[in-house]
């Protein structure tokens, strides 16, 4: 029997949610961090959306947020010209890294020893978190503000997307651009899938998949509306995308066919990501909320409960 998707709404932010990231799977489950224009990034339990804590300290809109794999550290990028590193267990601020302009993106290496930042001053910076007073390594080249910067290829290379309509692949050691992709529209988002070396890029209405090493195009799909973010399922059977028309689209990765679309948000969707176990995906919107969506609608998982139709009335009665 067909079930209708019930998204779980996570409230708490008071302004648009512009970025979100999941941790890896830890002994305590997995976690979700959200970046918001209200300046207060929040940590949530990944499978339920329950609020755990708010990182207090930024004095401006937070544009980027990330967690390390173990969810012990968090990093945020903000309009107050700083990137901050936090203890994700206590919520304490550990480090403030001053920049010369708005910081838009932060990303940890696999072992969490280095932090990559990028922002409006067009320069990529690599900080050694063991030596925070040392000057960061700088990589220049982009001619416009950097939107997203990610480690790739075992943290030996860096992928960056900027408002100059390029995506560049850099070698961390030589600091040279190994490859450049040029687009005729601004790249709205980028996701790197290490297992399989796939890069997901969105621009205009297009969701495109590239080989992360060669930057060769694998395939591209056009959506009905302008897309701001997309995410590929860990098993690479679906991908989801959201953008200007407030809807979330689910596509079959192999056939490129649109499978479903979901309404729910009251504003454009800025970010969407699959959880590390692929059981759900989270979306952040201009409407100030995060919503959690099931990959397999109707399955018992997290706060969703599969209730067989014949037992439904009985279950409602006993649950009161």
């Amino acid at each position: 029997m067909a079930m209708r998707q019930t998204p779980l709404t996570c409230s708490g932010h008071t302004r648009p949610v512009v970025d979100l990231a999941f941790s890896g799977i830890t002994p305590y489950g997995y976690f979700l961090i959200s970046a918001c224009k209200d300046g207060k990034p929040m940590l949530r339990q990944g499978d339920t959306g329950d609020w755990i804590g708010t990182f207090l300290g930024h004095k401006g809109a937070v544009w980027g947020a990330t967690l390390n794999k173990e969810a012990t550290k968090a990093a945020t990028a903000a309009a107050d010209f700083t990137a901050k590193v936090w203890d994700a267990v206590t919520g304490d601020e550990v480090l403030t890294l001053a920049h010369k302009h708005i910081v838009k993106s932060v990303n940890f290496t696999e072992d969490s020893t280095c932090l990559l930042t990028g922002g409006n001053d067009k320069v990529l910076r690599i900080y050694d978190l063991g030596k925070p007073e040392a000057e960061p390594l700088e990589i220049a080249g982009h001619t416009s503000a950097i939107k997203k910067a990610l480690w790739c290829n075992n943290d030996q290379q860096i992928l960056s997307a900027a408002d100059d309509r390029t995506v560049r692949l850099w070698d961390k050691n030589t600091k040279e651009a190994v490859k450049t992709l040029a687009f005729d529209a601004s790249v709205s988002s980028m996701e790197y899938i290490p297992d399989g070396e796939i890069l997901v890029i969105t621009y205009g209405r297009t969701i495109a998949f590239y080989n992360a090493n060669s930057l060769d195009l694998i395939k591209a799909v056009d959506a009905p509306a302008s897309i701001h973010s997309a995410s590929l399922h860990p098993e690479k059977d679906f991908f989801v995308a959201g953008g200007d028309d407030f809807k979330l689209y689910k596509y079959d990765y192999t056939t490129k066919e649109e499978m479903e679309s979901y309404k729910g948000h009251f504003g454009p969707i800025h970010c969407v990501r699959f959880s590390p176990d692929g059981e759900l995906y989270a979306s952040g919107s201009e409407d100030g909320t995060l919503r959690l969506w099931q990959t397999a609608v109707g399955k018992t998982y997290g706060l969703w409960k599969c209730v067989l139709p014949a037992l439904k009335a009985w279950w409602f009665n006993i649950s009161k």
Binding site: M3, Y28, G49, W51, T54, V89, G91, V297, L303, K312
Partner: protein
Amino acid sequence: MSSGMKTPVSVLRLPRGPEPNSRGFDPTSPRFIALCPTTLPSSSSSSGSADEEEQRLRAELRERFLRTLLLMTGKRVRFDMHEHVRVHARFGASDIDVLNLQVCDLETPLGVQREALLRSQDVIACSFEV
């Protein structure tokens, strides 16, 4: 039931939202207890004594701060805030994470506010007569 009408998936409850007066990160949660070093003084080691000294000083400063808050209760306090704002009010209490300060009779250019809440992050300094 008409065909084509789907039943919405049931949920146990809604996700829990933020607490209004706390920044969260519950110290009694299993993850916190497992991953955070104990705050109880342990048997001293050579590197431990420097940490212990710092811990002792921090505890002392914290205690002084909390005692100052207690002493301030009911008194007329001058708050120096950002943007060259300086106001006087009668201090009531702060919340557990000192995010907000509850005051009475807040004197503002627009008049006296009977009850008000000041955001701690806006306050640079407060002074009062002991």
